[in-house]
């Protein structure tokens, strides 16, 4: 049997904010190539969970291992691409071209005083082409539409050639057509490039066919390896604590 190390291995993770328990004893693993949806009600701790994985918040207790290494000793952060919540809502006057923003994805690899290598340039161009923003290269990020900005932010995450892409409810301020293109892209990245995807969303219906695992977060964590089970309306209603209707649709 081939050993498949976990990309994320979380054990008994707890997090408190100002004395309030946000996350209780979360335990789960994410394996290479998975398409994992993180769902749950607002304030349930979805974004906190992701921020804990990325080291942006410090856990109260518990263990996080990234690529088999304890998070405190983990150095290869460029192996994780991150597209945060509301990433499309950037400051309209910020002096940054699309090329400069995508190039930021390579900064951690370049190191101090590191100039842009041929490999960096190729990775930036490849990420821009993959996201269809190569022709916007010299445009200011603030002059783009919400959908275009979203693609630029994903291109930035992809420029580091990550093994895993974490996307946190990225569709704020993005039109419906761009959202559909976005879901299609995530599917392509997962299926053809074998990229592991961790997708935080409210709209589980649109990715129902793609996901391989669901993490339901509402202070406590419930893991299901059978998404169709979770997506059932009665199960969703039980988890959310309110009547829920799931509409699965081919975007």
């Amino acid at each position: 049997m081939k050993f498949s190390p976990s990309l994320f291995e979380v054990d008994q993770l707890c997090f408190e904010r100002h004395g309030n328990e946000v996350l209780k004893a979360a335990t789960f693993r994410i394996l290479p190539g998975e398409y994992c949806a993180v769902i749950g009600p607002n304030g349930g701790g979805k974004t906190t969970l992701v921020r804990l994985l990325l080291g942006l918040e410090k856990a109260t207790s518990g263990v996080i291992k990234l690529f088999g290494t304890d998070q405190n000793r983990f150095k290869d952060w460029n192996r994780i691409g991150y597209v945060p919540q509301r990433s499309a809502l950037v400051d309209g006057t910020f002096p940054a071209t699309v090329r400069e923003v995508v190039g930021m994805g390579r900064y951690a690899k370049r190191g101090m005083l590191g100039f842009e290598s041929a490999e960096d340039k190729a990775a930036i161009v490849e990420a821009m082409e993959l996201m269809g923003v190569a022709d916007l290269s010299d445009r200011l990020i603030g002059n783009l539409s919400g959908g275009q900005r979203q693609r630029v932010m994903i291109a930035r995450a992809l420029a580091s050639k990550p093994d895993v892409l974490i996307v946190d409810e990225p569709n704020t301020g993005v039109d419906v057509e761009s959202q559909h293109r976005f879901y299609e892209l995530l599917r392509t990245l997962n299926r053809t490039k074998k990229m592991t995807i961790l997708f935080i969303t409210h709209d589980i219906g649109v990715i129902a066919e793609d996901i391989t695992r669901v993490l339901f977060v509402n202070q406590t964590l419930l893991v299901s390896q059978n998404p169709s089970e979770v997506i059932r309306c009665d199960e969703m209603s039980r988890l959310y604590g309110t009547p829920a209707h799931v509409v699965c649709h081919n975007h």
Binding site: T93, P95, T97, E100, M104, L113, L140, N143
Partner: protein
Amino acid sequence: MLEMLDYPFMQRAFIAGLMIAVLASVGGSFIVLRRYSLLSETLAHVSLVGVSVGLLFGMSPLWMAVVASLVASWMIEYLRSMHGMYSDSVLAIFLSGSLALAIVIVSLAGSFNASLFSYLFGSILSVSVEDLWVMGIFGSIAMALLLAFFKELYFIAFDEDVARAGGIRVAMLNFMLVSVIAVIIALSIRVVGTLLIGALMVIPPVAAIRFGMGFYPTTLLSIAIALISVVIGLSASYLFSLPSGAAIVLCLLVIFIIALVINRR
């Protein structure tokens, strides 16, 4: 007009002014983009405390300004990042607090008002050879740090969370940036004065941003605006016996207005 360059004090003023122009505009670019512009104003007021202490106890006002500004910058960053206090509130406390302290020290001494005036508004006559050495050494270190971490500071200014998630040491670089800004401000007080240095840090990047370019060309334009203002301001200061800081800031304001008119949106 070029005969002014025959005078050693003008040569020193120009060397100091051009050094400060480059440092202030590059450092200022990062604080403007982080909406942290008031930091320069606050640290300038703090450096006035250092100057007052220096004059009162007969120590080098420039060195004391560097020390006061550095200590305050670390305290500000500590309170902002570790205690989660709002940046503008922390800056407001330090700004008014340091000014109050400086006024008390000045009124206790009561004998160095003329010297203090040159530190408040800048004076081309006050730049000594020793000042140039201090500016050269500390300015070179400050610029080397800004250039070494240029791209990381840019990334942090654009999106601090994603930069941190990408493995960039944000907390360390934030402390480094405020330290560098503190040093630049303390070094600038001879030429521009404590009350006006904020303008030399903030106006060039703000004017350059109006032209809607990427970060690298914007930074270069910002440097050019600062250099032009320093050259014209110092020349006007010599020709019309004006305080150098005020003349430089008025030039910056004219360029800013031109940038606004050209780039009406």
